[in-house]
Amino acid sequence: MNAPFEGIGASVRRKEDLRFISGRGNYTDDINRPNQTYAVFRRSDRPHANIISIDTSAAKSAPGVVAVYTAEDLAAIGGLPCGWQIHSKDGSPMAEPKHPVLAEGKVRHVGDPIAVVIAETKQQARDAAELIEIDLQDLPATATVTDALKSGAAQIHDNAPGNVCYDWHIGDKEATEAAFAKAAKIVKLDLENNRLVPNAMEPRVAIGDYDRHTSDYTLFTTSQNPHVIRLLMGAFVLGLPEHKLRVVAPDVGGGFGSKIYHYAEEATVTWAAGKLGRPVKWTADRTESFMSDAHGRDHVSTAEMALDAQGNFLALRVNTLANMGAYLSTFAPAVPTYLYATLLAGTYRTPVIYAEVKAVFTNTVPVDAYRGAGRPEATFLLERLVDTICHDTGFDPVAIRLQNFIPKDAFPYQTPVALQYDSGDYFTTMEVAMKNADYAGFPARKAAAAAKGKLRGIGISTYLEACGIAPSAVVGSLGARAGLYEVANIRVHPTGSVSVFTGTHSHGQGHETTLAQLVTSQLGVPFSQVEIVHGDTNRIPFGMGTYGSRSLAVGGTAMVKAMDKIIAKGKKIAAHLLEASVDDIEFADGSFKVAGTDRAKTLSEIALTAYVPHNYPITEIEPGLDETAFYDPANFTFPGGCHVCEVEIDPETGVTSIVNFTAVDDVGRVINPMIVEGQVQGGVAQGIGQALLEHAVYDSNAQLLSGSFMDYTMPRADNLTNISVATENTLCTHNPLGVKGCGEVGAIGSPPAVMNAVISALKDYGVRHMNMPASPEKIWGIINAGRKAAE
């Protein structure tokens, strides 16, 4: 019997599942260190206030308390750094106020940490935290970008006048205005992209540890990128050199962006462990997650499209206000600029575009990249605008998209907003999506639904996204303060099994499976003989982690490059053993062969020779078979596709049910189809959540109202339906695997498909636009108002 095919293209069942389904995962909260203490943070319950006094005396003398710290104790350490610097239109750098680890003099959002209690047990720490007396003097507070920009609005930071972080723009303003002046029709839409809470199921955890004898620090943390945390916390906050700081991110229970950033709790427990000489463990409860994990989205925009009489897009003009929250999180300034405004061409050949983006401080939790990060906001704006054009002008939503798509033969395609797309075919993904969704059969289904008293709607969205983050020189010129390459170390062991040390990090993506498939295909090593190691700065040479759908396009390519080196070295060893010229050695299916003969050596034989170099060209090459590669991508990758959503609304309750959801995505070469489907389904579910259910709500005083799962509506199994996923792929032209990325496409394409469907279902009620989420309350209000007007 042949061994099952387990290389590129096979739906191999996941290696990691065996430990997860049997309760043997190793998440950060499962780790306990000898002589461990527990940290509990006392956080602000006010959105904006001066700290008049903090009295920790009662807490310090409470049972089991080891220490209580406030900002005063942390005076010697730095603030939390921001990884990106944006320049405003006038060339000035963004306002970059200090983000203290513990609040200094002022609190700026509900959840801002003021003090930390460290005790022998978590319960003792929790009890003592309540004994801290904090005298706060309330200040006026603001939660929304529009309020924060009003004259007379409360100033959140002294060095950010008017609460503006930056006032940035991209594109050709004059050409855009000229095109608008000539337009036959201009369609304008005001829209909001609702604030979300990422809510990975595993709350954040951080354990600091310190060895007094070696002065080595260790941080165990729920991170998507342990090396980035080592860099940010070591260099900018605590002043620790790399060799004295180990960061471990073991099994991590979901991230979706929220575990990219360096957080105050990580720095606090690491610093405190050094101070106390004992391990310090902090585990967030969900309430803390809601008020301390970076939130996502929160844009207020105006979009205008200029069209000619035939419906060709002539120019796009966009104005966006982006909420940064109270402080700049690690990647926050990049999200509404280089991950958003550069995507405003979308799938369309709009010749000129001009976008202005103002980033604004408010008294809310910092906002940063959440699954899709900027690209869902751009896609929502464009695809709602296109459907609004159809609403206002009578153009057909399918025809107008086909008419304005970037032609198949136009790649590489230079957009007017900086990006150059390498490949794509938006016609095919749309054609297949419409077929899979039986778009043509919709009128009959709508009529059948109407006969049952239900309102049916169908919505299309097409999208383009940029991922595979990122070419370092490009992002460096745009303000990134780090490179975004990736690193892989491939170690062929003496008997031929392989360990891969990757700088990417898996927190649900299944890297231990997908990346092993790359090795099986390229080196011919059986899947069971490949181990993927990630998440520990002491084991992996370096790395930038996992976000922006980069692991395969960047990290996978680093592996390919390292395996190329393994093969090149193996050829030299094989040439020696087989007494042939290196140029005559071919490598295929795990074996080095003299071309045109049956003389061959397996990779295992070569590996053994490399480690037991008794008959070895020792003067020409080194022993061992262990290679490392750094790979910096030439460009972003550009997945695209089409999502079609069909909804049914119950007019009696206003509840929207998703009856069909069809995704057809171009993600480049697929390594494991089962995993790709799962990634898209999960992304679509989050997109449906954004469109129908989720909203992080602050009241007008900036108090967080939706601060628990009781108040924030997470999608549940019975809110969703089966999600049809297919791919129609074009290959990325600038990486050897031809891969693009699939982690974010679901969350990018789906929200406008859902909203276009909802608005289509409410066509008879005169609805032109609705902001997300399309809650039953909003929809029932519209239907009921329509009924009252009719009576």
Partner: protein, 158 residues
């Protein structure tokens, strides 16, 4: 401090707990059974579901003292002693019903109880309804529903 005696995965233990200690804290912190997870503080997410005397229970909702004298099964105790996986565990793997794995123990324990209590068989809609108490942020539930459906005949065949 109160003493609690309970049988977990077939092994009887007596432990001292505070009156306010939750069953999940006892399992994770006193018995080292870290397969049961805590995902929220409002009994909404279901990551902590275990079986207490044959019924699925959110172990963050039950005080440890309430479990005195009970028999508890956690995810660690679901497979047979020889390591043979329960059909629900098998189907979760076969149908890619987990990604990050954090909700999985609670999801599997809830699903086992759901299927066991409904030998007449469950429709897709009934499975979705039955999962209302368990949150997953990764999968969109699609493959979880498929896995539970596939586990039904395997569990009932026994």
């Amino acid at each position: 401090m109160p003493q609690v005696t309970l049988t977990v995965n077939g092994k009887t233990s007596t432990v001292e707990v505070e009156g306010r200690t939750l069953l999940v804290e006892l399992l994770r912190e006193k018995l080292g059974l870290t397969g049961t997870h805590v995902g929220c503080d409002t009994s909404q997410c279901g990551a902590c579901v275990v079986h207490v005397d044959g019924n699925s229970v959110k172990s963050c909702t039950m005080l440890a003292v309430q479990a005195d004298g009970s028999s508890v099964t956690t995810i660690e105790g679901l497979a047979k002693a020889d390591g043979t996986l329960h059909p629900m565990q098998e189907m979760f793997r076969e149908h890619h019903a987990l990604q990050c794995g954090f909700c999985t123990p609670g999801m599997v324990m809830a699903a086992v109880d759901l299927v066991a209590k409904n030998p007449q068989g469950l429709s897709e809609e009934q499975i979705r309804h039955g999962l209302e108490g368990n949150l997953c942020r990764c999968t969109g539930y699609h493959n979880i529903v498929k896995a539970i459906d596939a586990a039904q005949p395997l569990m009932h065949a026994k």
